[in-house]
Each structure stands twice: as structure tokens, then as C-alpha cells.
Amino acid sequence: MIFQQIINGLMLGATYSLVAIGYTLIFGVLGILHFAHGEVLMAGAFMGLYIIAWSGLPLYIGLPLAMLATGILGVLIDLLAVRPLRKDFHLAPLLSTIGVTIILQNLAVKLFGGFGTRFPDAIGTTNYQVGSFFISSVNVLILGISLFLMIGLYFFISKTKIGKGMRAVSENHMVAGFLGVNVDWIVLITFGIASALAGAAGVMIGLSFHAISPFIGLTFALKGLVVMLLGGLGNVVGAMIGGLILGLAEVFSIVILPTEINLQDIFSFGIMILILIFKPTGLFGTRIRQG
């Protein structure tokens, strides 16, 4: 039973990590917290729904397509709502992304209705037996994909030229610009990657919960932010670890707390508030940004 919960917790946590990594990347290169990131995840989930369920494409085509579509959405958000902003008003990106959130969420309610929509079993659910425990294929898939994406991202950032550009911009975007790094382009790519990751997370949430709604955006946005706070702002590895921690913590809180109290959703709020009050720099500390 415990093993099962651990697996569930890791699975949940992996999706949180993917969301948090997206936040972290954007925070790294732009210095803002992308308030609409959760809605991007929600959009990804719905796009996955359409692509996989309603066109019958298999998952291994559907998921990348959904990620692509979400990545494009992220790029659009950058181009329309972030890049044109004036640099002198420090609240502008925050408020603008709040605006994006409002638009996306309400559009989704209009398009898909305010209640949950069933997410199809895109892959047959088979249960594998390991010793005396069961792992479902869904678990394996989600953990596998998340791990793959995270490792891929890690290598991308450390080994490629674009990755180097991303690191340079997160260190000091002014100087990086002077050094010939096309900051706008790097920001664009970062938005695309972060959003694609969120899209993947959205699809996987649909797969594991079997239902999605237009309101999951805010929930996961918050959880992603809590993870980022846990792991320290701008700290990609911290985000990965933090996500897993939160996933495990939530799963075990359901087990421990009585079921009448519907506290699961505000559990992460509670954690967030505690972190904000007692350790605003996160458990792993923020990386100091210059410039």
C-alpha cells in the first residue's frame, strides 16, 4: 500500500516538477513569475484531449503534437503580452500575465463548459506486478516521460549553444545582450520550451486523473509556484526535487487526514503560506541574479 502511494506521489510530483521547471526557466531569463503558466498547462491538457481522443492519434504522436501546440501558445503569449511591455513599470509583466490568465480561463469555460471533461484512456491500462505491488502502465508512462523530458532539458541547457544563451541571460540579461546574445530570441525559446513542458504535464494529468476542467490551471499554477518556492527561485534542479517532494507530501496527506475535510487543495496553499512567512528564499535558496 505504501509503495503504491509512493508511486502515486512520485507520479504526481513529476507533473508538478514539469510545471515548476517551466516557471523556473521563465523566471530565470525574464525575472518574472509567469502567472498564466497554469492556464497554459490547462490548454495543453485540452489540446491533448482533442488530439488524442477526438482524432484517434496514438499517444506517441499525440503527446508531441500537444506539446508543440502548447509551445506555440507560449510563444504567442510572449510576443503579444510580454515582449511589448514597457520596461519601466515593474508590475507590468505580472499584471499582463494575470490578464492572459483571465482570458484563457474564461475562454476555456466557454469552449469546454465549466464542469469536468472526461479524458480518455489513451493507452490501455495494464497493471504490472512488481513483487507484491502493482504499478499501472499509466504510472510507468508518466514517470518515464517526465524523467525523459527533465533529463533532456538538463542536457539541452548545459550542452547546447542556445542553452548557454539561456544561462547567460538568466545571469545578467543586459550584459548577455551586449555580448551578442539575442535576448528576445532566447526569451522566446524559453517560453516555448517551458510551455511545451507544461503541455506535457497537462496531458499527463489528464491521463492520470481521467478528467480535466478549465479550472485546473489555477490549481496547478499554484502548486507549481509552491514547488518553485520550495526549490528556490531560478533553481532548475531544486524545482525537480521540490516537485517530487510536494507530490509525495500531498499523497500522504490524503492518507493521513480524514476524508471529510476537503483540504487537499488548500494543503498546498498552507505550505506556500508557511514558506512565504518563514523562509521566503526557498529551501534551496535563490540564485542571485545580477543586472
Partner: protein, 296 residues
Amino acid sequence: MDYLISVISIAGINIIMALSFYLPFMTGQISLGQAGFMSIGAYASAVCTVKFGLPYVPAVLIGGLSAAIVGFILGIPALRIKGIYLLLLTLGFGEIVRVVFINIDYIGAAAGFPGIPYQEHTLLYAYGMILILIVFFNRLRKSRMGRAFQAVGSDENAAEVIGVNIIAVKLVAFSSGAFIAGMGGGIFAHYQEYIEPFMFDVMHAVEFIVFTIFGGIQIFWGPIFGAFVLTLVPEFLRFIQEWRMELYGALLIVMMIVRPQGIISLDSVKMVENGLQRLFGKKTAGGLSPGQTESK
């Protein structure tokens, strides 16, 4: 005609809520929790009139005070937190209030709290309160504390070094904002006759921010203008009503790109003030500005 009155009444309540956001905002505290305070005020005042039979005005005041007390408590940890973190903290607060109220049967839980006595002079009370707030904000603007508020909002650390007690200032601003929100909630409850937790959710909290950001952040006339216009216009343009929230979102984005200070700027107000001065040849409340001669 009735319809017009009802729209203007709602606009009035929205103005109060926008101003409740504006006060802490002046000191640099961005709160997504005003809907939560509104909710506390609404429920507290409703309990007073329905369960205890208190008259309207004391009930609404108690609503405001209850919210203010909670605001004070929340304001303490909020002191150390800024920007988006404060936004998250207040967001979390609002959500927690909503979830808590959903679970309290005494006030109807998720089914809501019906039977609140209707206040037929809501319009008067709402705009009466707005008038008082206008006087307050106007006096604040030209006063020592008003400058202190602005300084804290502009550069907290520098303000502290100058001699401003930033803890006191922020706490006072935050709890006063909560107080105003609570009063707004009380007035709201006795207008709607029925309240339920979801009426005070995140999206509503966001609306109050939109009113201010759109209307203008440099001076208190901004939130008043923004709340009024953004409440009225969707009412009179039916097709907008359906896309109201999406439009609010787009408005936020566009404002940030095009005119981040909002529609009403300090300069526009000063122009109007100067114009009025010339027209009437009197001093404005708050004394002469330097360089202006005593007599005309």
C-alpha cells in the same frame, strides 16, 4: 429606471472595493485578498442582522471591523513579503476563507446564506461611503501620512531610512483596506439578500485589481473611475457582457503595453484642479502650492 439604479448601486459597491484595494496598493502591497475581506464583512454583517437582529449601520460597521481585525492579523506576515509573493499570500488567504465558509453550516455552508434583509437605500449608503472615502483620500494626498504612504510604495527602504515607520504604515494601510472591503461586503450582502462563498472568489478579487489598473494607479480617482466605467459599460453593451472577463483580461494586457499608469493620471487630475481653481478662484483643500500668490 429601476435597472439603472441597480447598476449604479453595484457600481458603487465596486468603487468601494476598488478603493479598498487601492489603499494598501499605495504602500506597495498588492492584495488579491480583498474579495476575502469582503466575504468576511458580508457574512459578519449578515449574521448581525439575521441572527442577532441588529440594525443596518452597526451591522455593516461590524462587518468592516471583523474584516479589519483579520486584515491586521494577515498584515503582519505580509509585512515581509512583496510583489508576487504577497499576491500569492493574499490569493491563498482568499481561497482559504472561501473554503472555510463552505464548511461552516451556521452560515449556510455551500448552499449560501439567504434571507438577508434588503436595504432599499443601498444606493445612498454606498455613495455616502464613497463620498467619505473621497474626502479621506483627498486629505491623505496632501498630508504627512499620504506622503509617507507614497514613499513606502515607491522605495520602502529609503523611506525607512528617512524616518518613516514602514511597519506601522504598511500595517495600517493593509488593515484599513480590509476594513473598507469589509464594509463593502456588508453593503453588498444587504443588497443581494443572499450570499454564498463562491461570490467572493479569485476572479472577483482580480476584478478589483483590474478596476484600479485600468482606472489609474497614480491617484485615488483612478479606481473610482475604473470601477464605475467597467461596471457600467458591460451593462449597456450586451455583447460585451458575455465576454466581460475576457475583455478585462485583454484590457490588463493592453493597458500594460500602452498606458501602464492607467487612464487617469496625476497630470490629468492636476490639470482639472488647476482649471477648477482658475474658474472659482479659490484654494483647493490642502493649501496653496508654492509659488502661487495669496490673493487673486
